[in-house]
């Protein structure tokens, strides 16, 4: 009698030390050959209890912690926290302070998207764009270093304004960077966007429908790639974003290819905002007078900003003391990661890697 032949699904543990899980995410995959039948993300490897630690620190001491909340766009994280604290304390930020925040925030958005533009092709096997984008990112890091002395975790945006004024050589250096940047973006596009292999790998892969965007509360460029026109900078303007003229790049299909293009175009728009802000930069104070022992009024606030990965929100509860009673931060990646298993079922392992990269998921934001 012939022995019955059968096949069985294989469980593959992808991560936490896998090169393309962007940090320490663990994905438990059930694969049938190369086809993914099930995907269960396991998070928590990068948990640092930032929210709890904030309860034991004064507001000023919380800001360096927020740097670590999501280290690719530390400026935005500082900003979101300070925005919430200012809302609690009714603090008006001076105009120059707001402009500097916008300049730094948008430069940081470019830097974060540059990492994305470099890393995503790397997950599809093209190693070279990574080095190109990091060359440009280096210039932004130099600008930050010049301003606040730090290159990754800035602690620059403070409650009531910013920590320091920009040095005189900042503006010419920044203009020089913006001058060459458009050409560099075109270089990346030449390398990837028109490349048939890149199109074959990304077009029509990992489609996020607008319905899925609403279901999972996907935000930021990943949502806009699906055609959902929602950008907090436009729809719920904070700071002085209503003063600038910029467009919101939108995708149509919501596939990995669109998510990439939306981010590339967003870099262009951010460069536009920085250029306008540099032109209009007023003189004056950079920081409002905030008492050293900053004690906001009792109450609770939620403030949100448009981070490079989506909605970055900070929920603060104050009991009138010098420390937050409760701090809760929201990052976009958490929702994005939840949507991944929904998208990847039935696709190949290689697609999972490409989709994971195209959602620009970053783990510290999820684990906090």
């Amino acid at each position: 009698m012939a022995e019955e032949l059968r096949t069985e699904d294989m469980t593959v543990n992808m991560g936490p030390q896998h090169p393309s899980t962007h940090g320490v995410c663990r994905l438990v995959l059930t694969v049938d050959g190369e086809i993914i039948r099930d995907c269960v993300p396991v998070i928590g490897f990068l948990h640092r209890a930032i929210e709890k630690m904030c309860e034991n620190r004064t507001y000023a001491q919380c800001i360096p912690l927020m740097d670590r909340f999501e280290y690719c766009t530390s400026m935005s994280c500082n900003w979101a926290f300070c925005l919430a604290a200012e809302k609690l304390g009714d603090i008006k930020v001076p105009e120059r302070g707001e402009y500097l925040r916008v300049i730094m925030g948008e430069l940081n958005r470019i830097a974060s998207h540059l990492i994305f533009v470099g890393v995503t092709p790397m997950d599809c096997g093209a190693l070279t764009p990574f080095l190109y984008t990091f060359r440009e990112r280096e210039r932004i890091m130099d600008l930050f270093e010049m301003t606040c002395g730090q290159r990754l975790t800035y602690n620059y945006i403070r409650v009531g304004g910013v920590a320091k004024d920009i040095p005189p050589e900042f503006i010419p250096k920044c203009r020089e960077f913006l001058g060459i940047f458009e050409e560099k973006i075109r270089d990346y596009e030449k390398l990837l966007v028109d490349n048939p292999i890149w199109i074959a790998r990304n077009k029509g892969i990992g489609i996020i429908t607008p319905q899925l965007v609403y279901d999972y509360a996907i935000s930021g460029p990943s949502a806009r790639a699906s055609g959902v026109n929602f950008d907090i900078r436009k729809n719920d303007p904070y700071s002085i974003y209503d003063l600038f003229d910029f467009d919101i790049p939108l995708g149509t299909n919501g596939d990995s290819y669109d998510r990439f293009n939306v981010r590339v175009n967003e870099m262009r728009q951010s460069a536009r905002i920085v250029a306008q802000a540099l032109d209009q930069l007023p003189d004056g104070e950079i920081r409002a007078k905030v008492p050293l022992k900053f004690k906001p009024n009792p109450g609770e606030v939620y403030s949100r900003i448009e981070n490079s990965r989506g909605e970055m929100g900070v929920y603060l509860v104050s009991d009138g003391g010098p420390k937050p009673f409760r701090m809760r931060a929201r990052g976009g990646s958490y929702n994005h990661l939840q949507a991944v298993p929904h998208i990847v079922k039935g696709l190949k392992i290689a697609d999972l890697v490409a989709i994971f990269a195209s959602m620009d998921i970053i783990m510290p934001e999820i684990d906090r």
Binding site: M10, H18, E34, G125, A126, T128, F130, I197, I349, D351
Partner: protein, 345 residues
């Protein structure tokens, strides 16, 4: 100008005149040649590793290795020395025999192909009358080694890598062979020397690539897959499979895989040179310099591919092989057949 063949003839005659007898002389000169080719290839492989690092570095606006020797030329030698010193780790669950023999097979097959490669005028270890068939057969053997590595490691990622490599090799072998078939049809011989001799006209520029450009393009694409290079480097896609079939290997076994990969790249380039680019034919310069120059130019092309293209997905790879390359290869064969009947090539 220095041709190397007379030197070998001279050594051969010298051994004969020493009174060793023809059998012993042949044996000694064959072993000598084998050792010579082997050491040459080792040097070539070491050079290629360094060269790839330098090319990738300059494409990516870096310097690459700079510390050991002039522009880091001794870097690969140092790396090899380091790998020799490393502990040879065998996973507890591995199939020890299969695990041990996999790199040996890959390494041996990579080098065995060079028996029939004509490095220059008269510089061929053995001019088999089925030369090209032999090369194709022996290079395909590498895949068995990769599959053994994937299976023997008893690791899921390695197994996926091994399966991928087997599927890929079977798919791309077909268009590869068919693209070479066009040249064999025109030459009427499978001997490497005959193929080179048939391209010797026009002051050394009567190359097959001029008559069969399509065949050449198909060969280059299929050879890229054959050598597991980007955009077809799926068996070792580090972003998906961490390292693929060689994930569990360490020390010298890893080095054997690594060197074999570069030797394979040199092999496919050498075949491209011999079959399509006129072999060692060329004016003015000695034949072996022409051969090396053309082969290194092909290697450079493969390296450019690697550092500029993204990687295909595994099903797209298969589709491309069976739906695009294979029909094109048949078109090429029909084209060559019609042209050779009509124009009497």
């Amino acid at each position: 100008m220095m041709e190397l063949a007379p030197i070998f003839t001279w050594i051969h005659d010298l051994l004969l005149s020493l009174g060793l007898g023809p059998t012993w002389t042949d044996l000694i000169s064959q072993i000598g040649l084998a050792v010579l080719v082997f050491s040459l290839l080792c040097i070539v492989a070491l050079f290629l590793v360094w060269w790839e690092r330098k090319i990738s570095a300059h494409i990516q606006q870096r310097y690459g290795p700079m510390m050991t020797g002039w522009h880091g030329v001794f870097q690969t030698i140092m790396d090899a020395l380091k790998l020799i010193q490393k502990e040879d780790i065998v996973p507890a669950v591995a199939d020890r025999q299969v695990f041990f023999w996999a790199p040996v097979i890959v390494f041996t097959c990579a080098f065995a192909a060079y028996i029939v490669i004509p490095f220059g005028k008269g510089l061929i270890v053995s001019d088999l009358n089925i030369g090209i068939l032999y090369i194709i057969a022996i290079t395909t053997f590498t895949i068995i080694g990769l599959l053994m590595a994937g299976w023997g490691s008893n690791n899921k990622y390695a197994l996926l890598g091994g399966m991928r490599s087997a599927a890929q090799a079977v798919s791309y072998e077909v268009p590869l062979v068919l693209s070479i078939m066009g040249v064999v049809m025109v030459t009427g011989s499978m001997s490497m020397n005959d193929i080179v001799a048939a391209q010797s006209g026009w002051a050394g520029f009567r190359w097959n690539v001029i008559f069969q450009p399509l065949g050449f393009v198909i060969y280059v694409i299929a050879a890229t897959a054959e050598a597991n290079r980007t955009p077809f480097d799926l068996p070792e896609a580090e972003q998906e499979l961490v390292a693929g079939f060689n994930i569990e290997y360490s020390g010298m076994k890893f080095a054997m895989f690594f060197l074999a990969e570069f030797v394979n790249m040199f092999t496919v380039s050498a075949i491209a040179t011999t079959v399509f680019l006129g072999g060692w034919n060329g004016p003015f310069l000695p034949s072996w310099i022409w051969f090396l120059g053309k082969t290194l130019a092909m290697v450079f092309l493969f390296m450019l591919f690697r550092w500029t293209f993204p990687r295909l997905r595994v099903d797209q790879l298969m589709e491309f092989a069976w739906k695009v390359l294979l029909p094109l290869a048949f078109v090429n064969i029909i084209y060559v057949g019609v042209m050779s009947l009509w124009l009497k090539w």
